[in-house]
Structures are given as C-alpha cells and as structure tokens.
C-alpha cells in the first residue's frame, strides 16, 4: 500500500517507511544513538528530498529517544545532572553551528563539508571504538584478568568548577561536559544528526562515565536537541513531514523498546564493538561514493 507524503511530495510504500523506522529505532535503543546518521541517507536513498529527510528524521528521533529514555529511567540509568550540562553546551554549540552552516553555504561548499564531516568523524570514532572494544573483549576472555581502574587521572581533573555527578560516579569540572556538548552541538547542526554517535564515545572515553548510564543520558540530551531542530525547521523551512514522521515513529518507538531489551543482554564492550562496525560501514559507503566516479556526472533539482 502506497501513501502520498504531503511535504516530501512523493509516494512511498507504507511497509518501507515502518520498516525503516523499526530498524533504525532498534539500533537507537540498542546503542543510545539517535540513528540520524543512518536514517537521513536511507530516506534520501528512497527518494525523499534531503531537506525533508533531515528535518523529518529529527522529529522521529524525538519519539524514539523519549521511548528509549523512559526504559533507561526505570533502571536508573540516566544522569540528569550530567545530561543538563551537556544540553546547555549543546544549545550554545548548535547556535554556533547554524551560523557556521550559513557561512559555508555562502561559500557554496556546504554539501562537500557535510560529506567530509561524515567520513572523517564516522571514521575516527568508528576506528577508536572498534580498537578499544576488541581490546576490552580480549581482556575479559584472558584468565585472571585484573580489575582496571575506573578512569585515569590527568590534566582534565585540574580544571575549575568541579561538580559531583553521583550517578556517573564522577567528580569533575563542569567545563568538560559543557565543552563536549558544545562541540557535538556544532557538528550536529552541520551534519543534521542528533549527535549520539559522537556523544556516546565522548562520554565514555573523555568523561570516563560508566557505560551503563551513558546510553540513557545521551538519549535524554538528544530529545531536547532534536525537538529544537524540529521546531526551527518547521518555522524556517517547512520541511518537517508529519505524515512521514508519524509512520517512522510508529515503527521507531516499537523498535527502540526491543533495542533497549536486546542491549541489556549484551556486555558494554560488545555493544560498542557492534556500534563501531556499523559506524565504519556507513563511513566506508560515504567515502566510496566520494572517491568513485559516479555513473552520471549530472544531477538535477527542481527549485520551488
């Protein structure tokens, strides 16, 4: 059964939309990432115009993140204090990012910058996570593995404005999560994603948060970032397709629930290893598209 999408102005099979929502929602619940870095390219692949894909996917991620965060809250896996500080940084960063976006668009190279950002950040984060998680898996398999320290102490622990984050078992400077939130905010404005795939590893490796609270806290933060994007896009570009978002989130909220449950069955380092492989696959695909001569050098876009 086909359905005509009022804002995207294309007709799509309803099964494809719900299936996409469910699949990406599952990964969202499993890894605590919004799934935007997967969903946006997939929607474009199925013929949704790219501005509509970016804006609509933000709306859908609001739903899957709410669904996921509630499941994590029941298990006490959300650090609200940390999430709020990351969010403040995120608001500052995304405002900067929007400005940077407009500047790059004026230079006429925004498409290239977006693609390069994807390849570079997905590549770096994917490789780092894969190396680390493989090491961790090997370590746990070795007999008589000794318990590692919670985190290393270094220069970051000398920064001022120290705060206690009880859920995360951390006593660190508030400047750190603020800076990470801001950095991810900039990238998410440019790349059109929630930023979970950068936020999750940053929380683990830079802040030293326990893996158990990372996913819930990341989802908590993503709700607000994507709600803000949904509102701004609705007002400025009218590219949020409510019909498409509704069907995506129908599949997405269910998928996220199953993903959260599946996540509880796996160990932290196994989850990170799987996410790393997924991130690297998307990176390789995008890099391949940039490096290989396209079949058709020309492309068209109908301007309204």
């Amino acid at each position: 059964m086909y359905i005509y999408l009022p804002i995207a102005e294309i007709s799509m099979h309803i099964g494809i939309i719900i299936g996409l929502g469910g699949g990406v929602g599952f990964l969202s619940g499993l890894f605590g990432v919004g799934g935007g870095f997967l969903m946006t390219p997939l929607l474009i692949f199925f013929g949704v115009p790219s501005p509509v894909a970016v804006a609509t996917e933000a709306n859908q991620i609001v739903a899957s993140s709410v669904s996921g965060v509630l499941a994590h809250m029941r298990r006490g896996n959300v650090d609200f204090k940390m999430g709020t500080i990351l969010l403040i940084g995120g608001v500052i960063g995304s405002s900067l990012g929007v400005w940077l976006f407009a500047f790059l668009r004026e230079l006429g190279q925004i498409d290239l910058v977006i693609k390069l950002c994807y390849v570079v950040f997905l590549g770096i984060i994917g490789s780092l996570m894969l190396t680390e998680s493989v090491r961790a898996i090997l370590r746990t398999r070795r007999p008589g593995a000794r318990r590692v320290k919670l985190h290393q102490h270094n220069w970051m622990h000398g920064l001022p404005f120290k705060m206690r984050f009880r859920r995360s078992k951390l006593y660190i400077s508030a400047l750190l999560p603020l800076a990470i939130g801001a950095f991810v905010g900039i990238l998410s404005a440019i790349m059109g994603v929630g930023g979970g795939f950068i936020m999750v590893p940053a929380m683990i490796y830079l802040l030293g948060m326990p893996t158990s609270v990372v996913v819930g806290t990341s989802l908590f933060q993503i709700i607000f970032v994507t709600a803000n994007v949904t509102f701004l896009q609705s007002v400025q570009t009218q590219t949020v397709d409510f019909m498409l978002a509704g069907l995506l989130l129908f599949g997405g909220v269910i998928g996220a629930q199953f993903g959260t449950r599946a996540g509880a069955l796996l160990r932290g380092e196994q989850l990170r290893g799987l996410l790393a492989i997924l991130v690297l696959l998307v990176c390789v695909k995008l890099g391949y598209d940039l490096a290989v001569r396209p079949d058709d050098l020309f492309s068209v876009e109908l301007l309204k």
Partner: protein, 254 residues
C-alpha cells in the same frame, strides 16, 4: 525583476513556438477523461484518457505534447577535485517544464522533419529554454551541450519520459491516448497540445488543460505546515513525545 524576466521569456517562447496557421486547418477536437486531479493520501500516480476527433485522411498522424507547470531546475555537474567527486558547476534552467511527455501515432522522425519539429517546439531540445549561472545573474549560458543531460536526469525521475507514448487513430477520425502521470508529479496547471499532421506538415491544433492540486488530508497537512508553521512544529514535537511515552508505557505492562 524575476517577474519581468519571466515575462520576457514567455514572450520569446511565444514567438519561437509558432502555432499552426489556421488557414490550412482542418477540424480537430480533443478532450480529457478528467480535467482536474486531487492528490490525496492514496495517490500513487494516475492514468488519464485523452480522446478526440479529427477530420483526417489515410496516412495522417497525431502528436500530443503534455507540458507541466514551469519551474526553475538546478543542474549540477560533478568533477574530480583532489581525488573526490564534488559538484563543481551549478546552472539554472529558467522556467523549464516540470513535466514533459510526447505521444504520437508513429515515431516522430516519420511524422515530421527535424526542422518542422524545431519550428513547432516539439522535443526538449526545441523548447528554447534559457540557462543562467547559479544565482540567476550574469549572461545566459549556451544550454545546448547540457540539454541532453537534463533530459536524461528528468527521464530517470519519470518527469520527462524518454519514450514517446502511443496515440491510436481509428478510421482516420477518432484518436485516443493514455497519459501516464507519475507519483512524483508536480502540482499546477498542465497544458496538453494536440497536433494533426499531414504529409509532414501540421495542419491543425487543439489545446486542453489539466489541473493537479493537493486534496483531502494531504492538502490540510501541507497548508497547516505553511500557514501555521510554529503551531505545526509544536504539534509535531508533542505528537512525538506522546507516541514515545505511549510505547514505553505499553511495553512496561508486558
């Protein structure tokens, strides 16, 4: 400025695309099975029947040209820069048809010479389209070397079907043709031009119109998004939060 430019373009177009002189005309009448189409939630493209009568003889031909509402089309060209393929050139086709389909009783080159088709504006290359550099300012670009790529790209998204459609002509008097409109059709006014050919010359012509608009829920959502965009955004967020909460609550009971 753009409006003035559009006016100039249409004046040029009107003078280039000569209509068939009425002196030599025979009688030709064409009509559509449906003159207005509403795009509703279930829309997945549609078919229309074009039919009519002509005062014809053995060996006469009919050509039908369907033209969608004019729109600017950005055409981008990729090239290799430092090992990666990037868009290096963007040009804008001004007021090009958003849909363009030709249907005929026989292959076009059997019906009329290329000069005749050029004169009558039949075929993408003969539309007299103007191409400007990105931004819409600066001197016009010679679009001849780009028109084939444009037709190819538009063909692959079903808006300029490459294949000439079929018109059947019975007893040299009654003709009919099925117009295939794809699911991604653009809303607006469509012009349908029917030409009667004899011995390589167009001897009469009739025109009819078709209107395609959004309807029902599709139109309601579209209008809400454009007329009350802040409300629409808040509603979209509220719906997403409610849906997420409902799903979490539903799964909790299990």
């Amino acid at each position: 400025m753009t409006r003035l430019f559009g006016l100039i373009i249409s004046l040029i177009a009107a003078s280039v695309l000569t209509t068939v002189p009425s002196a030599a005309s025979s009688r030709l009448v064409a009509d559509l099975s449906n003159k207005s189409i509403a795009i509703t939630t279930g829309f997945h493209g549609t078919e229309l029947l074009l039919f009519g009568a002509v005062d014809g003889r053995a060996g006469d031909d009919i050509i039908v040209i369907v033209t969608g509402p004019p729109t600017d089309i950005a055409q981008r060209r990729k090239d290799n820069r430092a090992g990666i393929w990037v868009n290096v050139e963007t040009n804008i086709w001004k007021q090009a048809p958003s849909f363009y389909n030709i249907l005929a009783t026989r292959p076009l080159d059997k019906i009329a010479s290329i000069e005749m088709r050029k004169q009558l504006g039949i075929g993408p290359a003969h539309l007299g389209l103007t191409m400007l550099p990105e931004g819409g300012t600066g001197p016009a670009i010679d679009g001849n070397r780009f028109i084939e790529a444009l037709a190819g790209n538009m063909g692959s998204i079903h808006l300029w079907p490459a294949q000439t459609g079929t018109v059947s002509l019975a007893q040299d008097a009654l003709f009919r043709a099925t117009l295939d409109l794809p699911a991604n059709i653009v809303t607006g006014d469509y012009n349908i031009r029917v030409l009667h050919f004899r011995d390589g010359m167009a001897i009469s012509e009739d025109r009819t119109r078709l209107n395609i608009e959004k309807g029902g829920l599709t139109a309601d959502i579209y209008n809400l998004a454009h007329d009350y965009s802040a409300l629409y955004g808040i509603f979209a967020i509220a719906f997403a939060v409610a849906a997420g909460w409902l799903a979490a609550a539903a799964f909790r009971r299990n």
